[in-house]
């Protein structure tokens, strides 16, 4: 259940970042900052947002720049997992090349990510 909720959260947030960038005709980095700035400071919500951006922001920015959709981004940064023998869970229609290939290619883009290596180690 935890992994399902994490994946859902990731897909929602990445979708919002992607759409904010599209709507305001801005970069993904600007959209991330815009999203964090919208959050209230109470309960340290902004601080938490910036912490998440610090961790995953660079990878998300790289992938969105490559026009990768939210499902593929979240699989590439390991916040969504494909369980053995199960299909890839996806919200958006799969890319033309298929989800498997798209996730493999996206994973190559972020293969040097320190955060992902640390998460894998953890």
């Amino acid at each position: 259940h935890h992994s399902g909720h994490t994946c859902l959260g990731c897909v929602l947030v990445v979708s919002v970042i992607e759409q904010l960038a599209m709507f305001h005709n801005s970069t993904a980095k600007e959209a991330l900052e815009r999203l964090c700035n919208y959050l209230p400071e109470i309960l340290n919500l902004q601080g938490l947002c910036y912490l998440v951006v610090e961790m995953f922001g660079p990878d998300i920015i790289k992938l969105l720049k490559d026009k990768v959709n939210a499902d593929v981004v979240c699989h590439a940064i390991k916040l969504c997992n494909q369980n053995a023998g199960q299909p890839f869970c996806h919200l958006y229609p799969p890319p033309e090349m298929g989800l498997n290939k798209a996730v493999r290619e996206a994973s190559r883009i972020v293969k040097n990510s320190k955060v992902l290596k640390n998460i894998a180690g953890f």
Binding site: G4, P40, L43, Q86
Partner: protein, 419 residues
Amino acid sequence: TSICAFPPLVKLCEKIKYIIKNKLPYEDLDGDKFSAFPTLRGYHWRGRDCNEGTTTVYPGRRPDNWDVERDSNCNGIWGVDPKDGIPYEKKFCEDAESKGIILLGDSAGAHFHIPPEWMTAAQMSLKSFSNLPVALTNEFDWPHFSGITGFLNSTIGGWTDSLYLRLHRRNRCNHRDFQNISKNGGSSENLLDLIKSLARNQLLDNPAIVIYASIGNDVCNGKPDTVAHMTTPQQMHSNVIKTLQYLNSQLPKGSHVILTGLADGRFLWDQLHSRYHPLGQLNKDVTYEQVYSFLSCLQISPCNGWMSSNETLRNLTSERALQLSNVLKEITTSETFANFDLFYMDFPLEKIADEWHKLGGESWQLIEPVDGFHPNQISAALGASVIWQKVLREWPHVLGKENPFNKQIEDVFKDQGGH
């Protein structure tokens, strides 16, 4: 676990665990289960405590010495009329058949809602996230706008109407006497635990109207083999009887319990499957059918049975829901309890839709846009009106009589200290 083993945090952790488990107010200085703090199961969930320093002062109790000295039941009425020396509480409330309203329910009753502005790029702003802290500390529920216990003007669309507000309007002595004992995922089984957070003293408090409304979680789960995990009619019977026995041991004599049947969730698929989800509106690329399928794949769907493209499964789920509703109906005819009378009503989805159509609306507008599952603010408000009319028509004694002193109470005590 390791953080909670740290000695200075042991007590705090125990309190947090207790609060989370028992769904009681986090800030409750006198331990009477009522709070002067809004969220964290505070006064958004049950009437505001007007005195956090005394266990014997809380909403819903019968007045102590006619509240000559202080407002012991927090209904805003106390003191003595200088003109005739009669205590106001005695004058205005003695024969008023005061009673509270208590909901025992699920996420629909607690009024689960995720604002669509949070995921619609065109609507996002500082203002749209200003209610995030309240949502987080209320478990993404908005009981203060709900159809049974809502009391504040809605800030999430639609309008607020509730049984509590109507009961309060009928008799202002009922001010603040409400409890929303609901939780996300509430089913006939886990409500047996949740009900322990009920605050009603059989000897000291006024009778109550209890609405039992677990409208879906007995047939809804996220399991791939969802039918196998649905509550059976036998389990339902046993769970509800246990709940009623507990209520009988807690409620003051003269109370009433209304069992509500389960909803027919086929409405969800029928109304939404081909419509765009808020996330899909910008690029026209995400329909509710896709959302349902994604949630099922992740095994976190709130209801695999109804949020499914499989029509046979949707029908099976409705069939079981009907069987469980029939169990509730049968209980009301076969069982009697010393401290309350018992009634059954179907979940009034069709009637709510009819009322909405009369106002020019469409059925899909009655469902929460983000989760595509819960009844929304409009449904809640219309539901309150529909249920109120039914009770008034069929069981008027449940609501008590109209208080002829309402105007005078308003003149003397204004908004009775607010909510």
